[in-house]
Symmetry: C2
Subunit: 895 residues, 2 copies
């Protein structure tokens, strides 16, 4: 028989999955001998079973009966007994904390008879009736789903009637009246009497907690926090202790040390004569915990002992909830305390300094997401703001500037020293200059992996995208949002960490951690307060430790010397992906257009001749910047028509010109070329290695430029370490054919220049077939670099451009994904292919170097997976390099 | 040390891969004790090694020396000896026969000295000089690559000078003169003397044979025949025997039985006083082999014995080459004889009737490609034809009719009894009616998997596509090809088996095999000649045997009752794929348009209401036709915008209308919808299960229609066996969500109608992720059906629409593929995914049913693979059902 119920004496803190966080920690505290009111936990498994079947598993009721009887026997009281009633609390407790999301019912067991027993036994009639009205209120709201407002109004009416301001002032008669009022509310709203039978109350409360797992707000919360929707919650049934038994009673929350700095001390709040929900509800002002020292020195001393005990046991900052019932301390909850990003770093090093944890363990206490938060500037929290709305948080940071609607204006104004925000419906590769010039980018269309988002993240530019309420009219140089008209030149502020958009200029606070990462510790700790310097030093210590123990190298994706330089300062150990297509935009686009329009090989060769010195210089610049470090250059990947105008737009233009009798032969020729190159699914068309095989000379040009660049640097006694990467390979034959061509050029240049360059040639693994036939592909590849973006697209059969702003919302909502597989690697599908390719490839070539150059290279969860399957390096955008370094170190600790 | 050389006494017929076909069979005959001139074979491995390194492996020369010495010792003569020279032939012989593709050099060993020894030893000076001039001619052409015309002209000049008509009439002096002429030609053309050293001749000849593997024509031939480009050829060095030693000598070719009917008898040609190449060259008229009986009764008798011996040994029709040297018979070659498709079937059953082979073995002797050939009508070979050109052979058959340029006209004229050929640039789903009405389809664009090709093959309609020389002007109702103008109404004939296009009407010969398959044996053998009846009976016997032993079931892909009925007659055991999107074309398209334009759920529900009875009737018709057999219905798969007009065309139209001030609000609304649904890669967008999850009610409508149709048939005591298939699943969660919805509808309808239908729900496996996570997917699927077309597209990352008419030509040419992976399954990549999914899926659900519904279900090679990995059924277009039946039977035999 499945065990659905565990007494607090049976569990321990490692059973969070089964008992929930609260239940596991109650059990742990019980076993530590701390004063925990006795009780038991119903497992998450029971909840899952209930949710799947729509009713409780049969064994559950029986097991609850047994546990309840044991509790009653131990305490010598019975649930809801009319003379000396046992009362219990019924509280949710899932594996992952979901504050405020789930339900609690206190004082279960009270009814018209037992309220009198409680009054008698406690000698406090007021307390008993107050507890009863609380039960009715919580039960009505939580279990019977009656609007809480109705009860609040009843309470207000009672206070008005008696002429008092607070609940505690209500006298017995008022409370008795309120109980009657509430029972009437329940009868009228739910169509049935409040259940007088204690066990019925208990069963309904348990069921209400189960049901609260699937409320809309809970689902939404889990989606945001990437918590699986199918875990379920545990339910804790705990003997009631009362903080509302007069002035010697109370309830409080506390931290075992300063949750901001990590320094030791007493931090918490206390409320006299109250039950737990009063603290949270903020109905009355709380006292500082230190005040308890005077109110109840003995309980205070005991509390400090308990906290020290807990911290030693958990070896981390804990937060706790406690109740004092007539000067007796009871522990109601503990857990490892949540903390801000800054606190996490501070606490981790503080605990090391106190010899409570090792540096390895300290790494477990922080993560890349926290580091990312610390790296970005923020808007001043205290500033006045005029919020226009909220788009998607696409690339974090806080940016403020004058609105511009096109790239050219952005560049001009930026050169003139004006900060600008580029506002577009969506961006395309031609906007690159404007995006570089702008302080931030705001688009009305596209998701987190739209062009704007990806490029902005890549260059660390703040970006809010998909701000759908914004109606951008680039031609008119205006944008409208909910009736507000924004003109070019107006100031606007965007928060890429929250997606918020504000009118006007909001003051920005710089990040000292970013300064440290870019310019080093000494530069960062100048002129800042001690607390902040302390934080920077903590980050430095943890990042240095991560660097010293990680096996994964961290490279960067960079297409130009500027990005490369920035990444190198941020700790990149090379370039894992240099995309050469970005070198053909702007002024050079016309060359590619000529290449496409060339009617024969001679025409194409002419273009190659012109491209060669330009490409060579691109690579000289890049390799100079990364001297001594590996630089992987990918041969041209996108389909050629990406360099031509949009088919529909051009067709319309040509048709209108024809109709107007102003047909332009150049444009007609261009349209013919666009039509010829048109593909219904360009992602799956003529690109990458296919283009290299079909268009003679294209790859040869690039290989020659790379090789000559390397040779010229070698002549200057530099150490260029370039690697050539062939994109979109599906079959080893493709790679063999390209290699044959490339090897010949390599040999020729080496002979011409009299050097040995030993340039390795490898391939992207971005098609399922390449992964599935890795045994063969490795015959022709000296390295594999997993292009996880494309691999995700083909493995799932969806194009991120099309789907991420589309059905992904539904998929996240309905639980098909926990998180977009473009954000965090899909381990079961795409990950399995990576593992197959890694194993098979190394079987053929044991020293095969394995890298990752998709966006997942900068994602914490994905980095841990890459570590586990034996990848040698990840490559990510410059700004994610420190995050990847930290996570790679953590992966080495966590295994 | 690798053994590169095998004496004829060392090999056997099963070593074709190593010794080539010719070498293996020479060895086999030698070991059978047949009169084979002694010799040895250089392996294909030596050739591969030569081709890879660009020079012979060192051991090869040594091993040739050893083999040659052994030969010389056995015969007591030495190669090129000046007194009694040993001469040898050097002949290619690859694993797969490549007639006429590769090189041969005879009489190696002759030079200025040994020619005299040969004259002396043979007592025939003329023979010796004739042999020498042959060597010079062949060596010059083959080894030294001199234009053969120059030698032919020299020969003609010599004949003219002596005043004779044929070679045999040339006297010794003329031949001596010719030898001098040829030596001069060689000196002048190659820049060096003809090599006098016998061993040098031999080594150069061997190398020439190796090189001939990679000639342009050989590569082309292999591509067409799907022979791998990397096998290499063996080289056979064989003691020369001479058919040109006067009137008691000669050379011939023969079959061991009638190569057309398979009946016993003597079939062959003989040429007196000639060497082998004379027969092939057709220089003189040959005698019938029967004439040899009178010329040389003893050799004739021996030849008949040898042929009987060979046939008993090979248990099949053999063809042979032999030479008689002064009344002594020598066997130069044998192999299992090539045959026509009809002969293959006839011979196979004939051999069974003679108790030479079993029925299982008979199945090995025929194949699906041959059966396909027999199924299609053909143009009368003897008719006069005016060929306009050649497109791609997209769907076999011979069709003739009046040209029409649009679907409507095609339907009208066909109803009026006119045969028509639909001529279009390319077809789209709206042309379906026209394609059904037409006798054949001709397009100027698109490859073998273009819409026209796929649909035509599906319905067995003759189709030639990608006829690029054809310039179709649908508006003007004309088409032009190389200057010839074709008008609507002109007669045209197209051959879908060859791609040929003819002007005018070419008489068509019907296929009796097709009649048999469609209408049964009795109907087919009425009113046809005995030979043809014999063929039909052979097909019947072999197909029946295949049916009796095959494990793979064969279903069909059919979307309507008509196709279903046809397929059922052709032996289909159910429908493996019914595509419901075809049910929304034509008149119903407007409903889908309304669905798309609907602004809310209520609007959509209205459309569903209208669609429900229509869909239900579709399924009633289909299930009635397939009563008692399984019918798998796929829920709607394509993206919705496929039902809307093309974006570019509509944009142009709207822009022009706006410019002209005639803007149509309906059209504007439509354009807005098109823009909203536009995807840059529709293949990877919102379709299949994604659409089902995003558009509430769509799948529910289809499930309800299916269920109600099945229930109504059950009420009529029929036996509907419908299965519901969910397309494009990538994650088990998608399937669970659809199942939840579908199961509820199933239960509701079952309760409403009081029946139990037990309709299984399964999924397409057409995305790599579905295959990779099959363990999970099988939890929610009662069957898998592999959609191998889409799976090929996503595994390779190419869209067949875009690439097959594009870079595939280059890929086939450069050997990346042997055959398009859309024609024959890519076993290494896509096949590996299928195997993973089959194994993992059955681990979760041992009784999981596995089917294949992509086009590969009808491809012979692919069918054998599906058999091996444990697939339960294949589903193919109706016309490929008999082919699949035969191949499934063969797979059972071949394992």
């Amino acid at each position: 028989m499945t065990q659905y119920v565990y007494a607090f004496t049976e569990g321990n803190k490692d059973q969070k999955e089964l008992l929930g966080g609260k239940g596991a920690n109650l059990a742990e505290m019980t076993n530590l001998g701390l004063p925990v009111p006795p009780g038991f936990t119903i497992t998450t498994e029971a909840c899952r079973s209930y949710l799947a079947a729509g009713s409780e598993p049969g064994e559950l009721r029986v097991q609850v009966t047994m546990a309840l009887r044991r509790l009653e026997d131990d305490l010598g009281r019975q649930l809801g007994d009319r003379h000396d009633p046992l009362l219990v609390s019924v509280r949710s407790g899932a594996m992952h904390s979901m504050p405020g999301m789930m339900e609690t019912v206190l004082n279960v067991g009270l009814n018209d008879a037992s309220v009198k027993g409680l009054a008698e036994e406690s000698g406090d009639e007021r307390f008993a009736w107050d507890s009863y009205r609380r039960l009715l209120q919580m039960f009505g709201k939580t279990v019977l789903e009656i609007d809480g407002e109705i009860f609040s109004k009843g309470l207000d009416a009672a206070k008005a009637q008696q002429g008092v301001d607070t609940d505690v002032e209500l006298d017995v008669e008022s409370l008795k009246g309120l109980v009657e009022t509430f029972k009437t509310v329940i009868r009228e709203q739910s169509g049935a009497e409040f259940p007088q039978h204690p066990r019925e109350q208990l069963d309904l409360a348990i069921r209400a907690v189960f049901d609260s797992w699937n409320t809309e707000r809970a689902r939404l919360y889990r989606r945001r926090e990437r918590i699986p929707q199918d875990l379920g919650t545990a339910v804790n049934i705990c003997t009631m202790v009362f903080g509302n038994m007069g002035e010697t009673s109370g309830t409080g929350v506390a931290f075992t040390r300063d949750p901001a700095s990590g320094h030791g001390g007493v931090y918490g709040d206390y409320l006299v004569n109250a039950q737990g929900e009063d603290v949270v509800a903020g109905i009355r002002n709380t006292l500082s915990l230190a005040d308890l020292k005077d109110l109840d020195p003995s309980s205070y001393k005991q509390l400090l002992q308990v906290m020290r005990r807990l911290e030693t046991h958990y070896r981390d900052l804990c937060d706790i909830e406690f109740t004092i019932e007539r000067s007796k301390l009871w522990m109601l909850q503990t857990r490892v305390g949540k903390r801000t990003a800054a606190a996490a770093f501070r606490i981790a090093t503080q605990l090391v300094d106190e010899n409570l944890i090792t540096m390895d363990e300290a790494l477990e206490r922080v993560n890349g997401a926290q580091l990312a938060q610390l790296m970005f500037p923020r808007f001043d929290a205290d500033a006045d703001k005029n919020q226009l709305g909220r788009g998607m948080a696409a690339s974090p940071g806080a940016a403020t500037g004058h609105i511009v609607f096109d790239s050219k204006t952005a560049e001009t104004q930026a050169q003139a020293g004006q900060p600008v925000i580029l506002v577009r419906k969506e961006t395309n590769p031609d906007d690159l200059g404007g995006m570089i010039a702008a302080s931030g980018v705001l688009t009305s269309r596209g998701g987190k992996t739209s062009h704007a988002a990806v490029v902005a993240r890549g260059m660390g530019r703040t970006c809010v995208c998909g701000f759908a309420e914004l109606d951008v009219n680039g031609d008119a140089r205006t944008a409208t949002v909910n009736g507000t008209v924004l003109n070019e030149g107006d100031m606007i502020s965007i928060d890429g960490s929250t997606g918020e958009v504000f009118a006007g200029e909001v003051p920005v606070v710089a990040s000292p951690v970013a300064t440290y990462l870019e310019s080093g510790l000494d530069a960062a700790v100048e002129n800042i307060d001690d607390d902040t310097a302390d934080l920077v030093r903590s980050v430095d210590r943890l990042l240095s430790h991560a660097d010293s123990i990680r096996r994964l190298a961290v490279r960067t994706n960079a297409d130009n010397a500027e990005d490369a330089s920035r990444a190198r300062h941020l700790g990149a150990q090379g370039i894992g992906l240099c995309r050469t297509e970005h070198m053909f935009l702007g002024d050079r686009r016309v060359l590619i257009e000529r290449l496409i329009l060339a009617s024969d090989q001679a025409g194409r060769e002419e273009v190659y001749e012109e491209l060669l010195p330009l490409q060579r210089q691109d690579f000289v610049d890049l390799l100079t910047e990364m001297d001594g470090l590996p630089v992987t250059i990918r041969l041209l990947d996108p389909p050629l028509h990406e360099f031509l105008p949009d088919r529909t737009e051009l067709s319309v233009k040509v048709a209108l010109d024809r109709a107007a009798g102003t047909a332009d032969p150049d444009e007609e020729r261009l349209l013919a070329a666009v039509e010829k190159l048109h593909e219904s699914n360009p992602m799956l068309g003529l690109r990458g290695v296919r283009l290299g095989l079909v268009l003679p000379g294209l790859f040869a040009l690039q290989v020659r430029a790379i090789t000559e660049a390397a040779a010229s640097l070698r002549a200057r006694t530099q150490n260029p370490r370039v690697e050539i990467m062939v994109p979109l390979v599906g079959s080893v034959m493709e790679l063999f054919l390209i290699r044959d061509e490339a090897d010949q050029i390599l040999r020729t240049v080496e002979e011409e220049q009299g050097v040995e360059l030993g340039i390795p040639i490898g391939t992207m693994i971005e098609l399922p077939r390449a992964a599935l036939t890795a045994t063969r592909v490795a015959e022709a590849a000296e390295f594999f670099s997993f292009g996880t973006n494309d691999l995700t697209q083909t493995t799932w059969g969806f194009s991120r451009d099309d789907v991420e702003g589309g059905f992904f919302a539904t998929y996240l909502d309905r639980g098909v994904f926990m998180v977009s597989p473009f954000e965090s690697l899909d381990v079961d599908g795409v990950g399995r292919l990576i593992q197959i390719a890694a194993e098979d490839g190394r079987r053929t070539r044991p020293d095969l170097k394995l890298g990752v150059c998709g966006e997942h290279g900068g994602d914490p969860d994905s980095i841990h997976f890459f570590h586990r399957v034996g990848i040698d390096y990840v490559s990510c955008s410059p700004f994610r390099v420190p995050i990847a370094r930290l996570e790679a170190g953590r992966a080495a600790v966590l295994g």
